[in-house]
């Protein structure tokens, strides 16, 4: 009888112990998550607030960097967007093609496996290695010099693995039955992909492209030695003299993006550069956050249109 009692006592104690353990664990986990959320808010708020003064100064967004009164970032802003556009023009078609091949055509053999490994390798390469390769291959071997084109190609190498993966995922998420139905009507994989799969996958693909654009927009290491780090001098008054080094559209001129500009100012500080760095960082962060927001909105909008039409 006595032993019986102590056994239930023991069991009770055990239950209480594991119960307490469960409560403590939940408490600790909640604290961690609270901390992480606080960290995210703190980081973003700090950057925004710290640089807001400079970023909102009239002229900062519209003046060239060498303005005597308010040094601005208009050239860097232009170069960032222009580099991004050139990069997307190169990387989107290649990634689309590669993703379609991997999803639709890829034979199950070592060639495909090697191609997949190559893309995986590209995705894990440090961006400075890509930049270093670009500074030799695009700049010297192909003779493009330090230029927007060389920079965009380096960014493309950085962007392709991200894009290929998201497009691949988007295509694979289209129900198999859609693909089978089109193939069963005697259509080619090509027609099936272009007319059935791509439209259905479009919301996810657009979201992926805009998200990757945000990543590209802030990338600097791959650019320093391919597109250059010296601020460009641009002449917006004469935009169509394409071979001129001051032509904003010339893809063979050097360029300096916002991100590279920040890096340059921190590594070679001058009087008052700290404020410019914070202002530029704020602008850069706002742009990237806008890309994030745009990606979500576009994705939602497109999928709503798709299902509603």
């Amino acid at each position: 009888m006595a032993s019986e009692l102590s056994r239930t006592d023991l069991l009770d104690a055990h239950v209480r112990r594991i119960d307490r353990q469960d409560k403590i664990a939940t408490g600790v986990l909640t604290a961690i998550v609270g901390l992480v959320m606080l960290l995210v808010v703190a980081i973003i708020a700090y950057i925004l607030v710290r640089g807001a003064g400079r970023a909102l100064t009239p002229g900062f967004l519209t003046n060239p960097y060498n303005d005597d009164v308010v040094a601005g970032i208009v050239y860097q802003l232009w170069d960032s967007f222009y580099l991004l556009i050139v990069t997307l023009v190169i990387s989107v078609p290649i990634s689309l093609g590669a993703a379609i091949f991997l999803v639709e055509y890829a034979p199950d053999n070592w060639v495909t496996a090697a191609a997949k490994t190559a893309i995986e390798t590209l995705s894990s390469l440090p961006s400075i290695v890509v930049g270093m390769f670009g500074s030799l291959f695009f700049v010297v071997t192909l003779g493009w010099k330090i230029s927007i084109l060389a920079g965009a190609c380096a960014l493309t190498m950085f962007n392709i693995p991200i894009l290929v993966r998201t497009i691949q995922q988007a295509l694979e998420d289209v129900p198999r039955s859609q693909r089978d139905a089109a193939l069963a009507m005697g259509l080619t994989r090509w027609e099936t992909t272009i007319n059935v799969l791509l439209p259905a996958a479009m919301p996810a693909i657009v979201t992926g492209i805009v998200l990757s654009a945000g990543r590209v927009f802030g990338e600097a290491a791959a650019l320093i030695f391919t597109a250059g780090s010296a601020p460009a001098r641009l002449n917006f008054a004469n935009p169509f003299n394409f071979m001129s080094p001051t032509c904003p559209f010339n893809i063979f001129r050097p360029a300096c993006s916002l991100a590279v500009y920040i890096w340059r100012l921190t590594s070679e500080p001058t009087a008052g550069s700290t404020e410019i760095v914070w202002g530029t960082a704020t602008v850069l962060l706002v742009c990237v956050l806008l890309f994030n927001l745009l990606a979500r909105l576009l994705g939602k909008l497109l999928s709503r249109r798709l299902t509603a039409e």
């Binding site: 992480v36 191609a115 440090p126 400075i128 090509w190 600097a220 320093i224 760095v277 990237v288 979500r296």
Partner: protein
């Protein structure tokens, strides 16, 4: 409309166009590996630098033609390991919370939140590290950290940067654990914590390891954020976590603009790039090994 291409030819054209895209990517990667290897090995085979001295030499002083990469190698590995150590418990902890405790909150609030961190460019992290974290370290440690730059501040910045990578991948890993496992454990009267600890984490272990390795890959290759905060001292071995040091990526960024192409220094920098390249291949191999083992364990 009047004339349609025969289907077989159309299919071959589709195959060729998309195949060319893949071939182009593969070709660029092969060229990259080849070029980095060729330039990086020139240091040893043409310029006559001893590879053993290169890998284990403790001084990197190009003016004196001393190319010992150990300070950077040690720097790279220390920031990688330290930042993983900082980020890991936080990442796994939050992943457990948002998958096991509050899934709705996780999907709707936490995930978009943590993805904001991914979007922040690495130079912005660098600025934050340079002006905020370095000052904090200086304030906390005083004399011991005269500039605040060093392995510790580099690791803190990196930990924040790899936190979202490890967290989101861990969340995916935990979500992939079939619900029957949890229900089976609850049916035996286990608490949520016991279920998480003994059942969920155990069966998600391979994917969690992959998440950690991917985070480490990112930390090892991260360039500008580290370069801006670590202090950039390659000359000699780091003696503590608070001394200015350098990493492979930081030394490359700083050195490449000064080196004239064709010089021994230039080739030595490529050798650093070669080490980075080899390390990323090693990380990929580890991930594949884990994946294969996981597949075998699950039958």
């Amino acid at each position: 409309m009047a004339h349609l291409m025969p289907k077989r030819r159309l299919e071959n054209i589709g195959l060729s166009i998309t195949g060319l895209c893949v071939a182009l990517v593969a070709l660029v990667v092969v060229t990259l590996i080849f070029m980095v290897a060729q330039q990086g090995l020139t240091t040893f085979f043409v310029d006559g630098v001893n590879p053993i001295e290169f890998l284990f030499g403790q001084n990197w002083i190009p003016e004196q033609e001393r190319y010992g990469a150990l300070p950077m190698i040690v720097g790279s590995f220390s920031v990688t390991l330290l930042s993983t150590l900082f980020a890991l418990p936080i990442a796994i902890g939050s992943a457990i919370f948002v998958v096991e405790v509050a899934p709705g909150f996780g999907r709707r609030v936490f995930q978009p939140f943590i993805e904001l961190l991914v979007g922040i460019p690495s130079v912005v992290y660098g600025v934050l590290g340079l002006y905020v974290i370095n000052s904090l370290i200086k304030a906390i440690f005083g004399e011991a950290a005269p500039t605040g730059a060093g392995i510790l501040s580099g690791s803190i910045v990196l930990a924040i940067m790899i936190l979202p990578t490890i967290t989101t991948l861990s969340m995916d890993a935990l979500r992939a654990v079939p619900n029957q496992y949890r229900e089976g454990s609850y049916a035996l009267g286990c608490t949520r914590w016991q279920t998480t600890w003994h059942v969920v984490l155990k069966s998600a272990l391979p994917s969690l390891m992959t998440a950690v390795i991917l985070g480490m890959t990112r930390a090892f290759g991260e360039t500008l954020a580290v370069q801006m905060v670590i202090g950039g001292v390659e000359r000699s071995m780091p003696t503590g976590l608070l001394d200015p040091a350098s990493t492979l990526t930081a030394a490359l960024t700083a050195g490449l603009s000064n080196a004239t192409s064709g010089s021994v220094y230039y080739h030595a920098l490529w050798s650093l790039g070669l080490i980075l390249l080899v390390m990323s291949l090693v990380f990929i191999m580890i991930i594949h090994l884990i994946g294969r083992k996981g597949a075998k364990a699950n039958g």
